[in-house]
Symmetry: C2
C-alpha cells in the first residue's frame, strides 16, 4: 500500500510534507526527535519548517500511527512502530533502540477505578557498541 493511501485510510490528509515525514519515520528504528527528522528532510524539502514537523508528529500520535517516547525529559522521540516492544536507551551514547529478542511485558491489568489507555516499558544501560569500548 502506498503511504498516500495509508494516511488517507487513517483520516490524515496526505500532503507532501506528511507523506515524507511519515516515510522518514517509518524507515528508521533510531527513534528520531522532531528536530532530527527536520534536519534529515531539509535537503529534500528546503522550505519544510520545524513547526510542521512538530505538528505532523503530534497528529500521527493522535491518529494512532506513531508512538511518542519521553525518555530523557529534554526531548521527545517518535516511533512508527506502535506494537508492544521494549525501548532501550544507552547511557553512554544516548542512542535509543528496540531491545531485540524480547517480547514486552504485557500492560498490567488496570486496578479498579482506573482506565489504562497505553503502557510502555523502558530500559536503560549500555548498548553492545559502548559496552565493547
Amino acid at each position: 500500500m502506498s503511504t498516500t493511501e495509508f494516511l488517507r485510510e487513517r483520516g490524515i490528509q496526505p500532503s507532501q510534507q506528511r507523506i515524507r515525514i511519515y516515510e522518514a519515520l517509518a524507515a528508521t528504528t533510531a527513534h528520531p526527535s522532531a528536530d532530527t527528522l527536520h534536519r534529515e528532510l531539509q535537503p529534500e524539502i528546503p522550505t519544510l519548517s520545524r513547526t510542521t514537523v512538530y505538528g505532523t508528529l503530534e497528529l500521527f500520535v493522535a491518529k494512532g500511527i506513531a508512538q511518542r517516547l519521553a525518555l530523557t525529559g529534554s526531548e521527545l522521540r517518535f516511533d512508527a512502530n506502535t506494537s508492544a516492544h521494549v525501548h532501550f536507551r544507552c547511557r553512554s551514547c544516548g542512542a535509543v533502540s528496540d531491545l531485540p529478542g524480547i517480547s514486552a511485558p504485557l500492560p498490567p491489568p488496570a486496578p479498579a477505578g482506573y482506565r489504562v489507555e497505553s503502557a510502555q516499558f523502558y530500559a536503560e544501560g549500555l548498548c553492545p557498541r559502548c559496552l565493547s569500548l
Copy 2:
C-alpha cells in the same frame, strides 16, 4: 534512622538543604518536579535556589536514592521510592501516581551484548477522579 544518618551512609554530605529536599521528596507520592519541590520548600528556606534543588535531585539519582521519571518530555519528575513499581500518568489532570495493587513486571532479561542497568514501566490513561467526572 534520621535523614542525616541516611544521607551520610550513602556518601552524601547532609546539608540543611539536602536534608529538607530529601524529606520533602520522601514524604510525598505525588512524584514532584524540581520546580514543584522548590516552590514547596521556599517558605521554609527562603534563600533556597532552583539550582540547588536541580543539582541535589541529580545527586540523589546518581547515589541511587531517587528515581528520575521522564514522562511528558517537558519536565522531569522525581520519586524517592526506588523499588520496582508501575507509574501512572492521568491524561486529563496530569497527576502522576503509583498504580496500586500491581507488582511491576520484572525487567526483561538483557539480550546478549547489552547491559541493562535500570528499567521502568509506565502506563497512561484516566485516574479514578477524572474517570468519575
